[in-house]
Symmetry: C2
Subunit: 572 residues, 2 copies
């Protein structure tokens, strides 16, 4: 069933019409596209036994207008009060806005939307102008028991922005999206929560022009969703970026935070460390909107020195060798790479095909003993001072070489870097032909990495016609993460949901963490009791009662905090 040479499906190339479901489903910029390569099409046809015919009939494109049966159920006087607080122009109650700001980007949501299934939406969408607006809104909503949700960039992959109990959604990225100042002595930036990654990074890179700074800076945080993520989102969901092995996870970048909660407003102190009791700033990290609303953050920033960046890539003979070399790199104490990724055999081989490895290179690799479905690709970068990056790359080459790896120059790393934010764009194209690509990720220790990899992979591969590509991309001396990508052909959302929850349960049962960097949201809320244990979960609930006694902050399953006992799932 392979495609004729040069065959390409007719990918959608036009911006979705305003007001359509597709305009909500589409990832990223309205008129930006990145289509699957010929290699991708080939792979789908092979794996799913699809014909050119199958790739000529689009399904469930979502080109219809958004219609909403749910009326605004919030009393008109409340809406009026919102208008008084934030200004008329900053309150929306139209169907389109209510739907748009109720959705993130989970595969399940997109599948449902394409079918015209619309879940819970807020009654009103409000765009606060500043933290004073948020204070007034929280006081008012708390008094009147109106549920509050926060929407920033909308790339949540776990229903984190779903207004499960209606009420009001605050869009913090409309106005509260600015860099408020740079403190060069302390290397910190004061930033509003709704600032998007690229705008933040750009402002830091151009600090000399924009702020008269002596140096250029970088934020150090580059998740795949970078272009559609915000600083506030990074913090409240405990995100990691592709360079976090060097710069630290989002939680490590936070110096201070200011929150508005029903129990009051506070700003934590701006010290790099202190011994003054349990740290409220740490408590708020990962609270995913259930305790209060982040209205400002002071973040660590780093010197921007792209001229010192070093690229490297390797081919390992096996997954074991790649894992062991990675562990040595992380534990040997010669400094840390910034980006570091190892792909398992299936991801490596599919990747080589997708990105068009010339056949003579493949023959060379095989001749050298790097066999298909055994060999593993590794790529990365080093950042920092010039002599530091030189040392780190040199030592990594030495370690990898000692585990039988072949050095492949920096080419693969540079190629990967170019497309690292645009992969999600392919999802619409594939969904147009009934193919779902989704990911789940988990933390592992070195000691249980293989069990998790094998166990979860086995679960996924047990479904006929399901691809599973896995990589590790965030490294610590004590372990790493595993990132599972699964691709399947189905438009049956119930079947998909059941399977996807099965993967989550397999992750838990094999001893990994529920999430390494995507957070819990509503999708995994039902599992959090089982994962943390009742005693720890009750600590989170005690904090919930303190901050939000009336249960108005992101209610309805977020973090599982307000789930009744019988909706909590305890896997084996």
């Amino acid at each position: 069933m392979t495609a004729k040479k040069g065959f390409q499906p007719h990918w959608t190339e036009t911006a979705p019409k305003q007001g359509t479901i597709r305009s909500i489903v589409k990832y990223g910029s309205r008129d930006a596209f990145k289509h699957p390569s010929h290699g991708w099409v080939h792979m789908m046809m092979d794996e799913f036994a699809m014909s050119e015919e199958d790739f000529s009939r689009k399904v469930e494109e979502g080109n219809t207008e958004v219609t909403l049966s749910q009326p605004v159920s919030l009393d008109a006087k409340h809406i009026e009060r919102f208008r008084e607080i934030v200004g008329k122009e900053n309150v929306e109650t139209d169907s389109y806005s209510r739907v748009k700001y109720a959705y993130g980007k989970t595969t399940e949501e997109l599948m449902e939307l394409r079918k015209g299934i619309i879940r819970e939406v807020a009654d009103a969408v409000v765009h606060p102008r500043d933290k004073e607006d948020i204070k007034s809104l929280v006081v008012y909503c708390n008094e009147h028991r109106i549920p509050m949700y926060v929407f920033a960039a909308g790339s949540s992959v776990n229903f984190g922005v779903r207004p499960a109990k209606g009420g009001v959604t605050l869009v913090v990225s409309t106005h509260m999206n600015k860099l408020l100042g740079i403190n060069e002595a302390d290397q910190t930036a004061r930033v509003q929560p709704g600032m998007f990654g690229p705008a933040y990074e750009d402002a830091l890179n151009r600090a000399p022009q924009l702020y008269g700074a002596k140096k250029k800076y970088t934020c150090g945080h580059f998740p795949q969703s970078f272009e559609y993520s915000t600083v506030g989102g990074w913090i409240v969901t405990l995100g990691s970026g592709q360079a976090s092995t060097y710069y630290g996870d989002a939680c490590d970048l936070v110096i201070s935070q200011e929150y508005v909660t029903p129990a009051g407003t506070f700003k934590t102190r701006e010290f790099p460390a202190s011994a003054t009791g349990p740290k409220v700033s740490d408590i708020m990290k990962g609270s995913e909107g259930t305790y209060g609303i982040l209205v400002e953050a002071t973040m660590k920033i780093y010197r921007f020195m792209p001229e010192n960046r070093k690229y490297f890539s390797f081919m390992f003979p096996s997954w074991d060798a790649a894992v062991e070399a990675s562990r040595e790199v992380m534990q040997a104490e010669f400094g840390k790479p910034a980006i570091f990724r190892i792909s398992d055999p299936e991801e490596t081989d599919r990747g080589l095909k997708l990105y068009g490895i010339p056949s003579f290179v493949d023959r060379y690799l095989v001749k050298k003993g790097f066999m298909p479905m055994e060999r593993c690709l590794c790529l990365g970068t080093a950042e920092g001072d010039a002599s530091y990056t030189k040392l780190v790359k040199k030592k990594i080459r030495k370690v990898c070489s000692s585990y039988g790896a072949l050095y492949l120059t920096g080419y693969a790393a540079k190629k990967w870097e170019k497309t690292r934010y645009t992969e999600p764009y392919m999802r619409e194209d594939l969904q147009d032909y009934g193919i779902q690509i989704d990911t789940l990720e988990a933390s592992v220790t070195w000691a249980n990495l293989h069990q998790v990899h094998q166990g979860v992979r086995a679960f996924i591969k047990n479904r006929p016609g399901t691809m599973c590509m896995t990589h590790a991309s965030h490294f610590y001396p004590q372990g790493t993460n595993l990132y599972f990508i699964f691709i399947m052909r189905t438009t049956d959302v119930d079947e998909f949901r059941l399977f996807q929850r099965g993967v989550i349960e397999s992750i838990m049962e094999n001893g990994a963490s529920l999430s390494h960097h995507h957070g819990i949201g509503r999708m995994m809320g039902q599992y959090l009791d089982g994962y943390l244990g009742t005693e720890q979960m009750e600590v989170l609930r005690a904090l919930k009662r303190h901050f939000d006694p009336n249960g108005i902050m992101n209610p309805g399953g977020q973090l599982g905090l307000d789930l009744p006992e019988d909706e909590r799932v305890h896997p084996k």
Copy 2:
């Protein structure tokens, strides 16, 4: 008033008699002594206008036996129950034990003890054998509302172990002091909370012999109190060690913790990172015994590679230059030193005298423009892989040189390293002659470092005849700490207390943190509301109510949690 050449006071050289106050006052091992050098005696005579005569009459030596007026007020049936739980041999109710385990090592406590003033003590001292004992004790004490305190190594400098409400003190260092296992794949160690620093480090260093490990390890945590500190103490007080600039603070070394609380027992998951909601492990760090009792921890460990250690020291022309160079070292991203310290001019000059700088060296320094009361000493080490430590030292030399520093070889750093744990031993000798040496420390940002240094120093120096030596010893890209050592001649404990509290208030008023690495305890508890603000303090109190609804865990002012409103101090 200088001493005759060779004059030395008659320092106490005999172990204190068992049962005496002095045996409780004395720091460290019963029969270990480290006396002030001739230089020290000289300095005291000069500064305090003391004669040889003054140094011949010891005061308040505390050689009398401990006597206690407070009877055991706990019902005999409770004591009997404790005996049933932990075994008869593990329960003490004698006066000496009750006093011994009620005291840490604040200057104020030692001054009072020497005068025979004895504050609150526990009714019973219990030595739990394991976590099951602690579980039974917590359940029982919670049921019967019996206050519980924890004593480990007893080097608290803020009344953290004072049994302010009587009840029972658990000594966790008697039995629960073992390394339970090393996980070499993950580079972690499972350890009991009462294990002392040296035993822990020794076991890790000798892991190949003791555990058949492939490599030697280090714990990476070396506070000045190392010899009389425990792993549990490091965690629950948020300690830092002298090499924490490289290895991270105690809070950064924790992978997982197990706690017994009145609200239940739990062990946090062992992942190096995860995005699964607010982290209960972080919440417990710094809880100082007020939420529950730490019964086991899994800690990061590092490869032990002392052969790669590099030493360095420098003289800077000024404090400004030393600070700016330190900032550059921390922000330049070429790796981090392990130990890094800069002394302010007064500490530098006194240090040079105390450690006997030859006069020709001093003349050379002056000739080169390094003037007394301007110049600043810097010393440190680099640890890790050999090429990494070489790079870090080379880059530090370059940075320091660019700020006008003179490289002084590694001599001063090596000399400092030899005596780094024994300085506290001098305290008894000085107190014997009515001289108090005490310290307070705080976090600062680079931006407010000078204000804190000048403001707090001015407060201290405003008291006639008071020495003040300051250094920074824990560095971050965003700031550092300031460690104030003040020396004064007084045996008036009320005067001392008032002055010492004044220093704390001056630290707060100048914008530094209440503590960088000594914790809050009871000494600073009264200030915590003012420091954190009511909203954050109420978060800590909400957690307190959850974990310990009956208020039995370390009650009586610890962290200020249970202080009534009118006992809270809000400095300007």
